[in-house]
């Protein structure tokens, strides 16, 4: 790998941080909308800067960060998605007391996620994870309800334990093998050893990252957090961190630090987590009545699909990036729609059944919901298909057809709950003729236009990624998301 300057590697983050600073200042003057725009603009600017860097081959800067190629693309996607979600939360943030600060916080979470995706040093990774986690606790809490307070606390307690495990793993590696926490040095220090301390550290760090992903059995915080957090916050927290963490995990485990470890260990550890997460997520999702809680469970299953990739090794990195980009966008749409429905139907109890007739009364939101749900299922014509196609394709080409089969069948089961959403939105509900009229008398509510707009923008992205490859192949994916 070549080297480029550290400043260049962190340029997107620096641009985004400027936006955060702007947001905090604007918030201080009570200009919430400006704060939101500032944070969003900073993120968008960071995304653009990161996007520009994608043409460069991957390069390690000062042993701390990796940038260029797919790493920069993932950063760009993380920041760009966050920009859309933040601007899509405008309606909610304007009406929330500390809205400007929350916008800044959301931006911090995104920046931390981008840093995670680009980290090449355990300490950088740890600090980014912490920053993201702290922002996450606060965002969950920001709903200011009993549930969100409770969920935030639980999130925190488990998060702290996971962090401890990470630190323990770091200590073992650093203390025993490295002269530094940077991947480059660690790998040199270990020099291909598979001694028990190495594998122990492997497991500890894997668990910490799996916790962030919400993989079974480290998932317990996720349903509580995503259900109780404001939907706009969940839109940010559900997908973007997963994308970043999985890229970090792939880089760390399959290329940078543990590439020499016995592949069967990676296969079994991640394969077991993958299958367990799929099984838990899809079946757990079936039992849910709350829409956002169902999405949280389904997220566990999605993590299961993603964890197939590290079980397969480095070649699957591109595939899993596609999978999680699609997931992050679709999950953002799904949660944003929840925010939108809450604004137009204040009486909504948050259940899936409560979505009855939404597709008819609010066609735009309905359409976004349709695309998001089909993308989450992995139906062709949406982005979700290509993610699963590539990941399971990698599994098959590595000979693990049964892993692919489990994954695909889990997708089938997942339609049980994703389809239930569509069923509620389109098949249920009062007579379609009177629905629109009966729904309108709710004068004090204003529809969350930014949320539905953002959802639609992301929907178009999902469709675009879904359809474009049919015409132009997956070549562009391969070039964009090469991590070499």
């Amino acid at each position: 790998m070549e080297t480029v300057s550290l400043a260049s590697a962190f340029a997107p983050h620096i641009v985004a941080v400027v936006g955060v600073a702007l947001a905090i200042m604007a918030d201080a003057f009570g200009r919430r909308a400006l704060a939101v725009f500032g944070a969003s603009a900073g993120l968008a600017g960071g995304a653009v800067v990161a996007g520009i860097a994608h043409g460069r081959p991957a390069a390690i800067s000062g042993d701390l960060a990796v940038s260029g190629a797919g790493f920069s693309v993932v950063s760009a996607v993380v920041l760009g998605l966050a920009a859309v979600v933040v601007i899509g939360s405008l309606g909610w943030l304007r009406s929330t007391p500390s809205g400007g600060g929350l916008a800044a916080l959301a931006a911090v979470v995104a920046i931390a996620a981008a840093a995670i995706a680009q980290g090449a040093d355990l300490l950088v990774l740890l600090i980014s994870l912490e920053a993201m986690a702290v922002g996450g606790y606060a965002l969950v809490w920001s709903a200011r309800t009993e549930a969100s307070t409770e969920a935030a606390l639980k999130f925190f307690v488990q998060g702290a334990v996971a962090t401890s495990l990470f630190v323990l793993g770091l200590a073992i590696l650093f203390g025993m093998y490295g002269a530094s926490t940077s991947y480059v040095w660690l790998r040199a220090g270990m020099a291909g050893m598979t001694a028990p301390p190495v594998t122990t550290a492997f497991v500890l760090i894997a668990v910490a990252l799996a916790y962030k992903l919400g993989a079974f059995p480290f998932h317990s915080w996720a349903p509580d957090a995503f259900e109780s957090a404001p939907p706009h916050a969940s839109a940010l927290l559900a997908g973007i961190p997963k994308l970043a963490v999985v890229v970090a995990l792939m880089f760390l485990f399959t290329r940078a630090v543990f590439p020499y470890i016995d592949p069967t260990i990676a296969l079994w550890v991640f394969g077991a987590l993958a299958v367990a997460s799929m099984a838990f997520g899809v079946f757990g999702g079936l039992a849910q009545r709350s829409y956002t809680r169902m999405l949280a469970y389904s997220g566990i299953a999605q993590v299961g699909y993603a964890l197939v990739a590290p079980a397969l090794g480095a070649p699957a990195m591109m595939a899993v990036a596609v999978l999680l980009i699609a997931y992050a966008a679709a999950a953002a749409v799904a949660y944003l729609i929840a925010g939108y429905v809450r604004s137009v139907r204040p009486e909504w109890d948050g259940t899936i059944a409560g979505l009855a007739g939404v597709g008819r009364s609010h066609p735009l939101a309905g359409a976004a919901l349709v695309v998001a749900m089909f993308s989450l299922v992995g139906m062709p014509l949406t982005a979700g298909f290509w993610g699963k196609f590539l990941v399971f394709g990698m599994a098959v080409s590595a000979g693990f057809w049964w892993l692919a089969l489990v994954g695909v069948l889990a997708s089938v089961v997942s339609f049980g709950y994703y389809g239930a959403v569509l069923k509620a939105a389109y098949f249920e509900g009062a007579d379609p003729g009177g629905q629109g009229a009966a729904d309108s008398p709710a004068p004090e509510t204003t529809p969350d236009v930014p949320a539905v707009t953002a959802a639609c923008v992301l929907t178009l992205v999902l469709l675009g990624i879904g359809v474009a490859p049919l015409f132009i192949g997956l070549r562009w994916v391969a070039t964009l998301l090469s991590f070499a």
Binding site: F385, L409, F415, A420, L422, K423, F427, P432, L470, R475
Partner: protein, 481 residues
């Protein structure tokens, strides 16, 4: 030729047109949809000049392979009859839903979308594209059943989707294996290098599983009855008419050529599935009191002939399968159309409640009798050539083992005539004495289908001319003759 691509593009343009121009109107969407579905038929007819009707393969416009690797469309003898079927059923489905006024734009947009996807399935010459269209079919069907269906439509829509999606899941893994092990996605390339497959048996059965669910073979058929019963008429028409054909088509197009030696070993299993389907489906149909369910289950029986024909492993058997598919693609839609028209007038499908409708609805009764006779395989109508050929080919392959199939044929006569007897015959029911016979508008789609049924029955070579070369190639692969 551009026309090949237009077969997918025209209905998609129709979707856009219906949404753009038809929103908010109850009647405009159907006119637009009819125009576009007729345009589809016209495009297909224009392909006749390229020799499609005599089995010439025609490629879609060749885009730069480098830039457009998946977009490969091709008509050949195997797909041409099924596309012809789609071309006939498109306008029929639109006409059958002429009375849909509730959210008409969405309904017709979905119909056209369904048509585009189905055409795509039959046209795709790339396995990934094939799979994409294959799954895309589910989406409009899901909504058609779920939104415009009958009482239990929600459950039926979910069941339909999950069940057939589960079938496709196996198929996807099979396709993934083929793609990632051969390193190609183009159908021809994949098949050419299929010998590299490490586990051909696995690949075959994974792919075949998807097909068998779609056909559907017993015992994975139970999605069908619910979906058919609850679907709106147009949905049933396309479901029975072309969706089920995807299974038989897929077996011949993909499963067999990708692993011919596995197919050879699998033939007895396919034969048993087909034979059981023929008998079991017919027996179930005999026991139904719901007219629509009866027709739905008769599909299981008819599609059993497809499996039986394919299981023979010979060109003749494959020809039988194709003939049965095309025929069933005309007869079942006609029956569903008629049952739908009856339901529109009586709001029931219960055979026990009907009596003497032959006197009340003479025009409808004539058509229904006609359709029932076509369904039981009367010579001169489209059902006979295929079933006859299937029996001949099946006997050639399996000898006297196919005698149970004969029982299925007798049962076919029994359930069809029972349906006729139950609804049309007997003393005139006072309950329905006042209802009006079908209108001229109702007649149009029915007569179109009836004409096709007669035409195919009188001259089955219409299909065989198309399929000849393509089937000979497949049969050569299968080692038959």
């Amino acid at each position: 030729m551009l026309a090949v691509d237009l077969l997918v593009a025209v209905p998609l343009l129709g979707v856009a047109a219906v949404i753009a121009l038809g929103r908010g109107s109850a009647t405009r969407p159907r006119a637009i949809a009819l125009a576009f579905s007729v345009a589809f038929t016209a495009v297909f007819a224009s392909l006749a000049s390229a020799g499609v009707l005599t089995g010439t393969a025609v490629d879609g416009i060749r885009l730069a392979r480098e830039a457009f690797p998946f977009w490969t469309l091709r008509i050949d003898g195997l797909s041409a009859p099924l596309l012809a079927l789609t071309a006939v059923l498109g306008p029929v489905a639109v006409l059958a839903s002429w009375g849909v006024r509730e959210k008409a734009a969405a309904h017709h947009a979905l119909l056209l979308g369904l048509q585009a996807s189905i055409a795509g399935v039959f046209l795709a010459a790339d396995v990934i594209l094939l799979y994409v269209f294959w799954e895309a079919v589910l989406i409009p069907m899901y909504f058609l059943i779920g939104v415009w269906g009958h009482e239990d439509r929600r459950h039926a829509a979910m069941k339909f989707f999950i069940y057939t999606f589960a079938g496709s899941a196996f198929m996807l893994v099979g396709i993934l294996t083929a793609v990632f092990q051969t390193g190609h996605t183009g159908l021809a390339e994949v098949l050419d290098s299929a010998f590299v497959l490490g586990q051909p048996t696995l690949v075959f059965w994974l792919i075949a599983a998807g097909m068998l669910v779609k056909i559907p073979a017993v015992p994975v058929h139970t999605w069908l009855a619910d979906a058919h019963v609850e679907a709106p008429t147009a949905g049933s028409i396309l479901l029975a008419g072309v969706l089920l054909k995807m299974g038989g088509y897929g077996l011949l197009r993909l499963a067999l050529p990708i692993a011919p030696e596995v197919f050879e070993a699998a033939r007895p299993i396919l034969a048993v599935l087909g034979g059981v389907g023929i008998f079991y489906g017919a027996a179930l149909a005999l026991a139904q009191t719901d007219l629509k369910r009866l027709v739905a289950l008769s599909s299981v029986s008819h599609m059993g002939f497809v499996l039986l024909g394919i299981s023979a492993g010979t060109e003749r058997g494959f020809a039988a399968a194709m003939l049965v598919m095309v025929s069933h693609g005309l007869v079942a839609p006609l029956l569903f159309l008629l049952v739908g028209q009856l339901y529109d007038r009586t709001h029931t499908r219960d055979i026990e409640r009907f009596s003497g409708m032959g006197a009340t609805l003479p025009r409808w009764a004539t058509l229904f009798t006609f359709a029932a006779l076509a369904s039981l395989g009367l010579p001169g109508l489209s059902g006979f050539p295929g079933e006859f050929l299937a029996v001949v080919a099946g006997f050639g392959a399996w000898s006297y083992s196919i005698v149970p199939v004969m029982a299925g044929l007798v049962l076919a006569a029994a359930y069809n005539l029972r349906a006729v007897k139950g609804t049309l015959h007997g003393e005139i029911a006072e309950e329905w004495a006042e209802i009006s016979d079908i209108s001229a508008g109702d007649l149009v789609p029915a007569v179109v289908l009836a004409a096709c049924i007669v035409a195919l029955g009188v001259w089955p070579m219409f299909v065989l001319d198309m399929t000849g070369d393509a089937l000979a190639l497949i049969a050569a692969l299968a080692g038959g003759m």
